[in-house]
Amino acid sequence: MTADVAESPTALADRGELALDLPESYLAAGYTLRSWLTSTDHKRIAILYAISITLFFFIGGAAATIVRLELFTPKADVVGADTYNKLFTLHGVVMVWFFLIPSIPTTLGNFLLPLMIGARDMAFPKLNLASWYLNIAGGILTASAMLAGGIDTGWTFYVPYSTVFSNTAVSLGVLGVFVSGFSTIATGVNFIATTHTLRAPGMTWFKLPLFVWAMYTTSLIFVLATPVLAVTLLLVLAERLFGLPIFDPARGGDPILFQHLFWFYSHPAVYIMILPAMGVISEVITCFARRRIFGYTFMVYALVAIAVIGFFTWGHHMFTSGMSPFAALVFSFLSFIVAVPSAIKVFNWTATLYRGQIGFESPMLYALGFVGLFTVGGLTGLFLASIPIDVHVQDTYFVVAHFHYIMVGASVSAYFAGLHFWWPKVTGRMYPETWAKFAAILMFFGFNLTFFPQFIAGYLGMPRRYHVYPPEFQVWNVLSSSGAAVLAAAYLMPLGYLTWSVFFGERARNDPWNASGLEWRTTSPPPRENFLGKPEVLAMPYNYHPEGAPPIKDQPRIPAQGSLT
């Protein structure tokens, strides 16, 4: 590397930008609908996913809005019992399988994984496109279940209610989730193969950005856990459609077996939602603190540990179902152990800020909010791992509040952090920063107002999935519903200003945040082949300041992480 490069923060990027013979960006590679729907470009597929999950996010959000509206009073005054049951089922199914699980991996992951490791595309570009079509096929099946009258089982499809007693379109919805499961398996296989085979020269495993590690560990869960869900859902279909006695106790089946199988997938699925979020936060916090990540290797091992131990804690969903007390103790113990690596990550993010040069651009606001909300969500997980407390709060609003802190407070905050952070790279445009900061702050307060009262209502004994409730819980529900209105506004704002920025936003520079990752060492938006030259990796990730030297204000970018040559 020549000395003059280091003197100007954006020397390399500017040189590339000034050249007029740049290859066209991936966005300019075709403007027809066909050019998008048949594209095998991982960046275009990421956009396709972004559009579909945004649609599902607002469908699920609309259902949640009506649910919160209904809960404003103890009586049933907006919707009746059956409609309410269908609404919360719709909210759960759509949000879990068609928004949260695909959210960060299929959008940011699809877009960034090849860029971050210096690859030109995924290992299997056609499989990548096929996975989107599978996801859409599953989404259409589930949406048609909605049109066919809805499903009233809850997103957990507990038997024997779902297989024998429910008169709603359960089969169609289950089939939709089954199909979309293959989409995530395909994505997982693709990410694993890409990470193993397509890393640029010099990009060793322990030079991978933590976001790539997060995608890799998430993919392991995709590939190992989702087939169990597929089997379980097939058994549900077999019992419901063909009357094969598998779970129905009246014919010798075991309904608890279903719960074991279901949670063997669905507990690791929680880590599918949170590991990618951890990856995003590691990228954002280092960039805006201008520091190397504190304890890189511990952060990697923590991701791996969460992914592995997360497979052995499913039983804590069933403490009140009548499992052996000794099995319950083992699951309780493992649930405490899995919290340790999560705690380490929180400490390391905090320590990364120490002696940094911290800026408060909107991605960083989301990231700081993430750390706070994730801490609350994680600690309340310890309450639920304690058997006596779990017996009291199982299936109450305490549980609802806990998993929303993790899955919405943490994961969705991280998704928005990543969306804003990489928006210039993805679209080539800057978004209006003031609006973004306002939305980030509004989202944090709206979220806490919505979900913190639910911890109290839950401990007081308000069960979940109640559309009418004893009047003494009303005050907490009014607080929660008011917060939901704020939260809805905060979620609609990015939809507005980000869309606006695509057409009218200021042109983005190649590396507007002066960040260190390989994905910034190309044009914004990147060309079809991702890089102009062959990237080569020379140093550790998060190379924001020389090793052993403190970060200074306006630290020139150290061009060692990658090059365009």
């Binding site: 019992a81 024997p160 705690a343 600690l379 310890l382 007081l460 409730y469």
Partner: protein, 355 residues
């Protein structure tokens, strides 16, 4: 203080759960304050361009530091596990002298029946200070029996029995809620637990119309369904005599032994070929599908009444078995017929009535 933030404590278990809950809340609050405090402090002190010292990190802040807080976290978490688990282990087994209450859940009502014969719908009267053992089952889907004031919850599973127990420490009326989603009127599957002073309870019990207790109903079933044809003493068929087997070890064919408890009686009725008593032929037909859960409970109660096992001792204040006059079982509480139109308002348990 803060009583509006905590549910009422009305059982032996409640203050124990609350102690763990408050302890965990305190630990969590400290951790949250620590993390948020550090985030805010660092954010202000090390904001971009501030004059704060950013010299090289002290050498202490390195791997040792990392190992240190990993071990500290592990220690704290394992300590909480031990604390919560030891409280749980202490509450596993119901006291031997507990009043036995059979609970049958169905869409969308609770049927309770004490071993002393009192039958109720969506209500359960119990005396204060006496341990009560609940034996739960369901006639359709999974339900969950939840009494927040007792910190008590247990799922009622179809065709299986689950157990739990409680000891009320306070008189009054408390919510009984269903917490496992069970269909349309899940939110209306509510009931009341009414805890009375022992003398009030005795008065309430004596005011109940004379009904059958479980054992007497079981006795009639024993004859009506043909069990007596083989199992009665002096029967021509070679079948085990059931008198006195309750609670005893039974020698099985194949050398195993099993305790004759509710689960074993149930299995023997539904799957008689599975655990055959040593010295008998496997000739008994299965009664699966022929007997309802309630009938199996009645037969079980009858067999228990025949036996002299530890659980069969008569309970204080309860009339002897022979004093009960047979008669049709009447359900006293306002019946909730599934599917019938219900007023679209919740049925609150009302304020606790203390005495």
């Amino acid at each position: 203080m803060f009583s509006w933030l905590m549910p009422e404590q009305a059982s032996v278990q409640a203050p124990r759960v609350d102690a763990i809950f408050l302890g965990l809340t305190a630990i969590s609050a400290i951790i949250v304050l620590l993390v948020v405090g550090l985030l805010v402090t660092f954010s202000i002190r090390f904001r971009r361009g501030s004059k704060a010292n950013r010299d090289e990190l002290p050498s202490l802040v390195s791997r040792e530091f990392e190992i240190g807080w990993t071990v500290a976290t592990l220690f704290v978490f394992v300590f909480i596990f031990w604390w919560a688990a030891s409280a749980e282990i202490g509450a596993f087994v119901a006291p031997k002298d507990a009043i036995e209450v059979h609970v049958v859940a169905k869409q969308w009502m609770w049927k309770t029946q004490s071993s002393n014969g009192a039958r109720e719908i969506n209500e359960l009267h119990v005396p204060v200070g006496a341990p009560v053992r609940l034996i739960l089952t369901s006639q359709d889907v999974i339900h969950s029996f939840y009494v927040p004031a007792f910190r008590l919850k247990r799922d009622a599973l179809p065709d299986q029995q689950t157990e739990t127990w409680f000891k009320a420490t306070k008189t009054g009326t408390f919510h009984l809620l269903c917490t496992e989603y069970c269909g349309t009127d899940h939110a209306r599957m509510l009931g009341r637990i009414i805890v009375l002073e022992p003398e009030d309870y005795a008065r309430w019990l004596s005011a109940q119309p004379e009904g059958d207790d479980l054992a007497h109903q079981g006795e009639r079933l024993f004859t009506a369904r043909g069990c007596a044809g083989c199992h009665a003493p002096g029967s021509a068929v070679h079948a085990p005599d059931l008198a006195g087997i309750w609670g005893r070890e039974v020698q099985l064919a194949g050398g195993r032994t099993v305790t004759a408890d509710g689960a074993y009686i149930r299995d023997s009725i539904l799957q008689p070929k599975r655990d055959v008593v040593a010295g008998y032929e496997p000739i008994m037909p299965s009664y699966a599908g022929l007997l309802s859960d309630g009938e199996i409970q009645e037969l079980t109660a009858y067999i228990r009444a025949l036996g002299s096992g530890p659980r069969a001792s008569r309970r204080l204040g309860e009339p002897p078995l022979s004093s009960r006059v047979p008669g049709g079982p009447e359900e006293r509480s306002p019946a909730m017929v599934p599917g019938a139109p219900v007023a679209d308002t919740p049925t609150p348990a009302g304020p606790p009535t203390r005495r």
